[in-house]
């Protein structure tokens, strides 16, 4: 647990009243890693992400991001399951607000550039309700990127999207992550999504969530098409391994 770790979680538990949702968990994430937290619903993976974001405080143990206790808005960009965009601002206005909070110069070029990075063109002047759900989630990602924090935290960002949009966004996020090299933590309940996106996958047990499996995903990060990647025998093997780790622990 050196201070060079992007995230250091040690001996952390978190309880809501009498119910222990998470832990105990020990987890360190080196800079540049794309960590995916996967598990059945209610296993506390979102709680763990909120602990890392600083929105919740651990009941026991400590959470450090880049060597300090996390504070919301400092050090981590956040993408939620719902886009949570501000409807009183245009698409560009949402990005501009994020830039302003980050104390960065707000220019039309900067806004357009951020939108282009998530595959959006000519939408800056649109209203939020004039773009699709998938586009809204892209804007939410661009907004989180605008702050240029060393950490990017994503809480099931694609869960509410249709399958086609979802695959497209996964593919784009994989490329954005490869190009920015930012440390990311991505929460999902989809095994396929976990193996596709992660450079490392951590499977959590049902409540209280503890680490059931910690797996390095040794698949090429760049220069490979999504279909090709999903077609690799290694991809199928890793998916099976993660899938087993989840199913073994779920009692329905």
């Amino acid at each position: 647990m050196s201070s060079a770790d992007a995230i250091a979680v040690s001996g952390v538990t978190h309880s809501y009243g009498d119910v222990t949702a998470v832990g105990p968990i020990d987890l360190t994430v080196p800079p540049g890693e794309f960590l995916v937290l996967v598990g059945a619903s209610g296993c506390g993976k979102s709680t763990l992400l909120r602990l890392i974001a600083g929105f919740e405080q651990p009941t026991t143990g400590t959470v450090l991001t880049n060597g300090t206790a996390p504070v919301p808005g400092r050090g981590a960009g956040l993408v939620f399951q719902q886009p949570r965009l501000f409807p009183w601002k245009t698409v560009g206005g949402n990005i501009a607000l994020a830039l302003r909070y980050a104390g960065r110069p707000v220019t039309d070029e900067r806004v357009d550039d951020l939108l282009r990075r998530v595959g959006l063109h000519d939408v800056a002047k649109r209203r939020i309700w004039q773009i699709s759900g998938g586009q809204q989630q892209r804007v939410a990602i661009a907004r989180a990127l605008a702050v240029e924090n060393p950490l990017l935290l994503l809480d099931e960002p694609f869960a509410a999207l249709d399958a086609l949009t979802r695959e497209k966004l996964q593919d784009d996020l994989r490329q954005v992550s490869a190009s920015t090299g930012r440390t990311s933590v991505f929460v999902t309940h989809s095994v396929d999504e976990a193996v596709f996106l992660g450079s490392r996958v951590v499977v959590l047990t049902p409540r209280p969530g503890t680490i059931a499996l910690d797996l390095t995903i040794d698949l090429p990060r760049t220069g490979i098409a999504a279909d090709e990647l999903r077609g690799l025998p290694e991809f199928a093997a890793l998916r099976a391994e993660v899938g087993h780790a989840i199913r073994d622990r779920v009692t329905v």
């Binding site: 960009g77 939620f80 409807p87 009183w88 909070y101 209203r127 309700w129 907004r143 989180a144």
Partner: protein
């Protein structure tokens, strides 16, 4: 007593107009004109049958008063030395100033009540108390404090307009969307920034409903405010006309208040649609 002379809150018909599909626009207009024509006929017939202009003046008599009060006749300017439009203008000025002060105060108090828990506990009963008082009741107090000129009238309208805005703002601010506030905080917004950029814009539709109510209340209170030394002023004109049993002038005054109220509410509604394009979409 005088408050009963006030026009009904003009919000209801305008709201319906906004909700109705635009396809029926012509039909709705025809329906309204028809209703007006029927009302006019009823009025005309009743006035003729009753044959008692002090009780129900005929439409023609009210029209004649409109002409008389809008012009100078036999060296007499309008009514009590002021033209109808001047009476109305003075009243509108009072309504606008009173509403503006009341709205500003209501916004400030509303934001404080919505954000500071203990303040809400202390102040909410006080606001409900003031809201329950008829404006004419505390007008006496303002007369004692501020005399009989403009000051007590503006105080009356301000105090009457404040509670609707304060209550609407407090409720909307208190029910701020946690998800959006959290998103702003995750972007680095401080407490004041998240209030300015998220809580207040989110509350704007509700605040605007409060503002329209406030202007309505100020409208219905202006007659009360002009019961003492109210000339020039449309309420003062009605009051004087009542004293001399000039029922046609009273009815004319009611029309002037009601019609200008409709106009102002339409203006507010237009402003609302311009300012809050996201209403109903988020």
């Amino acid at each position: 007593m005088t408050t009963t002379l006030a026009p009904a809150p003009p919000a209801a018909p305008a709201e319906k107009a906004a909700l109705a599909p635009s396809g029926g626009l012509r039909r709705r207009l025809a329906l309204r004109l028809l209703a007006l024509a029927v009302l006019y006929l009823l009025w005309e017939v009743t006035a003729r049958v009753m044959h008692n202009p002090t009780f129900i003046p005929s439409p023609g008599a009210v029209w004649d008063q409109l002409i008389t009060t809008s012009t100078t006749h036999d060296g007499v300017r309008g009514y009590s030395g002021h033209l109808l439009i001047e009476h109305l203008g003075v009243s509108l000025r009072r309504i606008v100033i009173g509403s503006l002060i009341g709205i500003a105060g209501g916004l400030l108090i509303g934001v404080l009540l919505g954000t500071v828990g203990w303040l809400r506990v202390v102040a909410e009963p006080v606001i409900t108390f003031v809201r329950a008082l008829p404006p004419l009741a505390y007008f006496s107090l303002f007369i004692i404090w501020f005399g009989i000129d403009e000051t007590p009238k503006l105080w009356l309208l301000s105090i009457a307009a404040l509670p609707p805005v304060a209550v609407a703002t407090a409720a909307a601010v208190h029910n701020a969307p946690t998800g959006l506030v959290e998103a702003a905080r995750a972007l680095g917004a401080g407490r004041w920034q998240s209030i300015r950029d998220v809580v207040l814009p989110h509350a704007l539709p509700e605040i605007f409903t409060g503002i329209r109510l406030a202007v309505g209340v100020a409208y219905s209170s202006v007659v009360a405010a002009e019961t003492i030394n109210g000339v020039p002023g449309i309420g003062g004109m009605i009051r004087d006309a009542q004293r001399y049993s000039q029922t046609d002038v009273v009815v004319l005054g009611l029309f002037a208040i009601g019609l200008s109220g409709l106009l102002i509410d339409a203006l507010l509604l237009t402003a609302e649609n311009r300012l809050i394009p996201w209403r109903g979409r988020a």
